[in-house]
């Protein structure tokens, strides 16, 4: 544990790195992660990338209606996930956080169920794809409305502070989210209350087509932490260990009652905003290519290989394992079929009120409604 040693100072100019682009350790402290953890970070990135790729295929096949790829964001998402105590701490993700949710333990079949709105989706097919959530894992179900989850995340952290058990809340969002009023209201409240919240901004330089310089009055996101009396850290978001160690410091400080922090991770989204986007309209191909060359998976693999923790055989085994897992998930969800019509009226309220009972009957008269005992 880092404890109350502060390894990283806020508001530095250069992004914090732990390994460089060639996978060499460059931090001024020794690695204290065991080999299993180091490998797990790799596996989580790789698995998320493969799943992401498969989702694009499923989208093209018409089996999934929408994809918002996390490719390029994996290092940050997976690094941050490993800094949390999954199942104890709370996470408030956004739509691009598939790798984060998977790394926290969201079962891949369940994740796919959400994308396919299948009958085995615990969220019951209520939302379009790319909306992670899990009550069991304390992953607050994603809403599409940008930044709207940030005030609830602060409420979560306030509840944790009142409970006094040292739990924390991680809230994740993109650079565009920092422009919304709710984002500000939430961070200010967290600052005023000293709530144990860690705010993680995945700054990929664009909100759809709008470049960060048109998005923000400040030149970077970390600086904005000044406004809330909390430390702000800029991190090389293509370095999973930088994301891990900085998040860990923020989490541990929050656990100890030292208040919230804002982390800005510099990442890039390799693909368009979503399958519905055409990024050629607003960003140059060479910019994309340059970032792809810094791919965190290859970079981190070099680090592991340098330490003798990874090789081609391990890679091949992992590829086969992940492929099988995804294939199984696709089969299971196709077999389950789509969430039935009758579910439309459940979960609006704890109990079905009379007017919704009547409306359900109205729909039932027009369709054969399937229901379950849920």
């Amino acid at each position: 544990m880092i404890g109350n040693v502060r390894r990283f100072e806020p508001f530095g100019q250069a992004p914090i790195r732990v390994i460089d682009d060639d996978g060499r350790w460059v931090a001024p402290f020794a690695c204290d992660l065991d080999e299993a953890r180091l490998r797990a970070i790799y596996r989580d990135m790789r698995r998320a990338r493969r799943f992401d790729e498969r989702l694009s295929t499923l989208q093209r096949q018409g089996k999934v209606s929408f994809v918002a790829s996390a490719a390029g964001h994996e290092a940050t998402q997976v690094g941050a996930a490993h800094a949390l105590d999954a199942g104890r701490d709370w996470t408030f993700p956004y739509y691009r956080d598939l790798a984060l949710a998977l790394a926290l333990g969201w079962p891949l079949a369940e994740a796919l169920a959400q994308q396919m709105a299948s009958r085995i989706d615990p969220a019951r097919g209520r939302q379009m794809p790319a909306h992670p959530g899990s009550a069991a894992l304390r992953i607050f179900t994603t809403a599409s409305a940008i930044a709207s989850h940030v005030p609830p995340a602060v409420g979560s952290a306030m509840a944790q502070k009142l409970a006094g058990r040292g739990d924390v809340t991680l809230c994740s969002f993109g650079d565009g989210a920092t422009s919304e009023g709710d984002w500000h209201a939430a961070l200010n409240l967290a600052g005023a209350q000293g709530a144990p919240a860690v705010f993680l901004c995945q700054n990929n330089g664009y909100a759809i087509s709008v470049a960060f310089r048109h998005q923000s009055g400040s030149a970077d996101v970390a600086t904005k932490a000044h406004a809330y009396g909390m430390p702000g850290y800029r991190v090389d978001g293509m370095d999973p260990l930088a994301a891990y160690y900085v998040t860990r410091q923020a989490v541990e400080h929050a656990r100890e009652g030292l208040g919230p922090a804002l982390i800005e991770a510099l990442v890039y989204r390799y693909g368009p905003h979503s399958n519905a986007d055409d990024d050629g309209r607003y960003r140059p191909a060479d910019e994309v290519a340059a970032w792809r060359r810094r791919d965190p998976i290859a970079r981190y693999r070099r680090y592991l290989e340098g330490r003798g923790l990874w090789d081609d055989a391990a890679e091949a085994a992992l590829a086969a394992e992940v492929k099988a897992e995804i294939d199984d998930a696709v089969r299971a969800n196709e077999a389950a079929g789509r969430a039935p019509l009758g579910w439309m009226f459940d979960d609006v309220f704890a109990d079905l009120p009379p007017h919704l009972r009547r409306q359900r009957d109205e729909l039932a008269a027009a369709h054969e409604l399937e229901r379950d005992g849920h």
Partner: protein
């Protein structure tokens, strides 16, 4: 127990709920030391301390959003919006988060919470201290909406709201905060959300209203009684869900109905009631269902009282309905 006003009832009921259940916390602007600008949380900061009576920054989004997050953790937050007119900076939190959380998570998460707000005009407040925004909540599936008009209903419904499992918008008739007193029995009874109350029984016309307008409606009923016209008076109390059964039953009996709401007419709750009556009870109507409402203008200052659907305007509508 001595007779108490509506605003005293709010403070007392909150105190009882907080004593009963330590998951209940209050948050809002000036709810702490100040006891709320209307004193609806008076004494609670001293009694329960700053962890349970939280003065927030001036942000309705922060207030409602934080309440959602606390509710997700199993707490029972009661948020105060200082005036209903100021709910709008926090409206997205209600619409996009609170109202849809249970649904979007397939029941995995929910937001049992109460958002209290004093509403209504007649207080020389101009258009930012007088509005009745209930239509916006009623039209948002996933929210329950309550708007009582007496101390007793306030207590019973506030208990239900705090103890219930859904987000409740709890509107309070600020014009009546200190205008009505009631001696309340020493019990723990709740009033279910969704049930209306018959305030008067009559045979000539049904008057339907809720919240602040109940005072004007009852005055109109008194004036009618003096003229020998007997009015049935329904206090809806809950706007979502609302008591269609009682309304349709009484309208079927009497055949003439006037719906009173202080909100701007177009898409006021009176429109919903009238549309429902027309749809479900057309043949039982002896006259068109009449709406007496606020006007479709921003709430004015200099004409504060004339804006309100006062007894005069209600009586004119009743006359039309009776003469039909």
């Amino acid at each position: 127990m001595a007779a108490q006003t509506i605003v005293q009832t709010v403070a007392r009921t909150l105190a009882e709920e907080m004593a009963r259940d330590e998951r209940v916390v209050l948050l809002g602007e000036d709810v702490g030391k100040r006891g709320g600008v209307f004193l609806a949380t008076e004494g609670l900061f001293d009694r329960f301390g700053p962890d349970r009576v939280i003065d927030t920054p001036l942000s309705e989004a922060a207030i409602i959003g934080a309440a959602i997050g606390m509710a997700v953790h199993g707490m029972r937050p009661v948020a105060e919006i200082q005036f209903a007119d100021y709910v709008f900076p926090g409206f997205d939190q209600l619409v996009s988060q609170a109202a849809k959380l249970r649904y979007r998570s397939g029941g995995g998460f929910s937001a049992p919470m109460v958002v209290r707000m004093p509403a209504g005009g007649g207080v020389a407040g101009g258009h930012h201290h007088s509005q009745n925004p209930e239509s916006h909540f009623v039209h948002t599936p996933g929210l329950q909406v309550v708007y009582p008009s007496t101390p007793g209903d306030t207590r019973g419904l506030l208990r239900s709201a705090v103890r219930g499992d859904d987000p409740v918008v709890f509107m309070e008739p600020k014009r009546l905060y200190r205008a009505v007193k009631e001696e309340l029995p020493d019990d723990d009874a709740t009033i279910p959300i969704g049930r209306a109350r018959l305030r008067r029984e009559g045979d000539d016309v049904v008057l339907i209203s809720y919240g602040a307008s109940m005072a004007e409606t009852l005055k109109a009923a008194d004036a009618l009684a003096a003229q020998g016209v007997s009015a049935d008076v329904i206090d809806l109390r809950s706007l979502l869900p609302w008591d269609q059964d009682l309304v349709l039953e009484r309208v079927a009996r009497v055949g003439r109905v006037v719906v009173i709401s202080e909100a701007p007419r177009t898409l006021s709750f009176a429109s919903e009631v009238a549309a429902t009556i027309a749809e479900e009870a057309l043949d039982l109507l002896e006259a068109p269902p009449a709406r007496v409402t606020g006007f479709d203008v921003p709430y004015p200052y200099a004409q504060d009282r004339a804006y309100l659907p006062g007894p005069d305007r209600i009586l004119r509508a009743v006359q039309r309905v009776l003469d039909y």
